[in-house]
């Protein structure tokens, strides 16, 4: 089990890598989304906000997110640190993503562009 702090640090690593990737920011300039990240085994919620290609991370849950990412704390920390890719946990049900199919593919894509081979 990971702690709330570990999830926060993993999201900060994700945020840092995202914002250092100028090409990724160009790719996402049309994709303004609010993404809620929620652990289902500890009390931990964060919100990712994509605006005009830039990413910001906040503690706590914003209202009416476009996408909600739910998993156990360990999976979330592994995911945002890039130790695992989202596809396998998504397919085996460990990771739930609530939102449109197009948005799910896009979030998967962002993660792979940051942490992929």
């Amino acid at each position: 089990m990971a702690s709330h702090l570990e999830i926060k640090e993993s999201l900060q690593a994700f945020w840092q890598n995202y914002n250092q990737n100028e090409r990724l920011k160009i790719m996402n300039k049309d994709w303004n989304r609010v993404i809620l990240v929620r652990a289902n085994d500890i009390t931990s919620e964060h919100t990712l906000v994509l605006t005009d290609g830039s990413l910001a991370v906040y503690e706590g849950a914003w209202k009416n997110p476009d996408l909600t990412v739910i998993a156990d704390s360990e999976t979330l920390a592994d995911l945002f640190y890039g130790d695992i890719t989202p596809t396998e946990p998504y397919l085996n049900g460990t990771l739930q993503v609530v939102g449109s199919e197009d948005d799910i593919v896009r979030l998967d894509f962002i993660s792979l562009m940051i942490w992929g081979e």
């Binding site: 160009i26 790719m27 890719t85 596809t87 397919l91 896009r106 792979l112 562009m113």
Partner: protein
């Protein structure tokens, strides 16, 4: 008589059956669409296994390419594994030869691909041979893989960048259900109006649109005489392209009974003629057979 059946994840509305004579041998070629139902496609392949000479997989690519690296789509492998006796092909072996040849044929024999012409390839990882050939003859190519598969408005302009991005994302993307990456079943019958509004300008900025017909069709806005290079078109599709304002249609596969078949079907026919495991067939054998069959691209003026 040899029998080749294309089992497709596409719409059953496009099903058909034709008889043709090739190199003195009679062929019955048919298509069975499963409306995006993967389990139904697997069951159909199991039922055909051992009863037909070759099975083609339509509406899905099993193998995608980024340079010399080949990635296998998980759902495609499930389909291939459903047959134990009959060879199953997805057309990718033939695409690399036939579609590459088509580009050089058009350069040498028509004015449709002059140097510097703007080409939109709606997807290149499923047609890497064509992508390489278009760049080789000096076309100004935009690769739409991210735009149309992932909804990301980012035009890839070089094979190096296409390979780099594909090598990052394909190892995982191939594990996703195929319908998340490509229009299957009923989605093939309708256009995506929202994406046409957002991404239609990529079509308008090009003089040539190339690639998979279902992708080409799904996002096509009104055109102004552009050339379409694709395959698997029916008489209905030709009318659709005329209505949209396309200028020329080039299909990489030959026409039988008013329609151009998918590369999976033609590869199935070639495998049935060669009578050897498809894994052992070399590109030169396909090329030799294509020459003997005198297969040439079909070029149709639409205006």
């Amino acid at each position: 008589m040899k029998r080749v059946v294309s089992v497709s994840l596409g719409s059953s509305k496009r099903d058909h059956r034709v008889n043709v004579e090739l190199l003195g041998e009679q062929f019955e070629i048919s298509r069975v669409g499963t409306d995006g139902d993967l389990d139904k496609a697997i069951q159909t392949i199991r039922e055909l296994d051992g009863k037909v000479d070759a099975i083609g997989l339509g509406g899905i690519d099993v193998y995608l390419y980024a340079g010399k690296t080949r990635y296998a789509v998980r759902d495609g492998l499930k389909l291939m594994a459903a047959a134990r006796k009959t060879p199953v092909v997805d057309g990718s072996g033939l695409k690399n030869t036939l579609e590459r040849q088509t580009v050089y044929y058009l350069r040498e024999n028509t004015g449709l691909l002059p140097p510097g012409i703007a080409v939109l390839m709606v997807s290149a990882v499923d047609r890497f041979g064509m992508a390489e050939a278009l760049l080789d003859i000096g076309c100004d190519v935009t690769f739409g893989d991210l735009i149309f598969a992932a909804g990301i408005p980012y035009a890839i302009k070089s094979l190096a960048e296409l390979e780099e991005i594909a090598n990052k994302i394909l190892p995982d993307m191939i594990k996703l259900p195929f319908h998340m990456l490509y229009p299957t079943g009923k989605k093939q019958e309708v256009q995506d109006e929202e994406k046409i509004k957002k991404y239609g300008h990529y079509y308008k900025e090009a003089r040539v649109i190339a690639g998979d017909y279902h992708l080409v069709r799904r996002y096509m806005p009104a055109l102004a005489g552009q050339t379409i290079i694709t395959n698997t078109t029916t008489a209905e599709d030709v009318n659709f392209l005329k209505e949209k304002g396309a200028g020329w249609l080039v299909t990489t596969t030959p026409e039988f009974a008013g329609r151009s078949f998918g590369t999976n079907v033609i590869e199935g026919v070639l495998v049935a003629i060669l009578q050897k495991p498809w894994e052992e067939i070399q590109p030169e054998e396909y090329l030799d057979l294509l020459r003997r069959l005198d297969f040439r691209p079909r070029i149709i003026p639409l205006r």
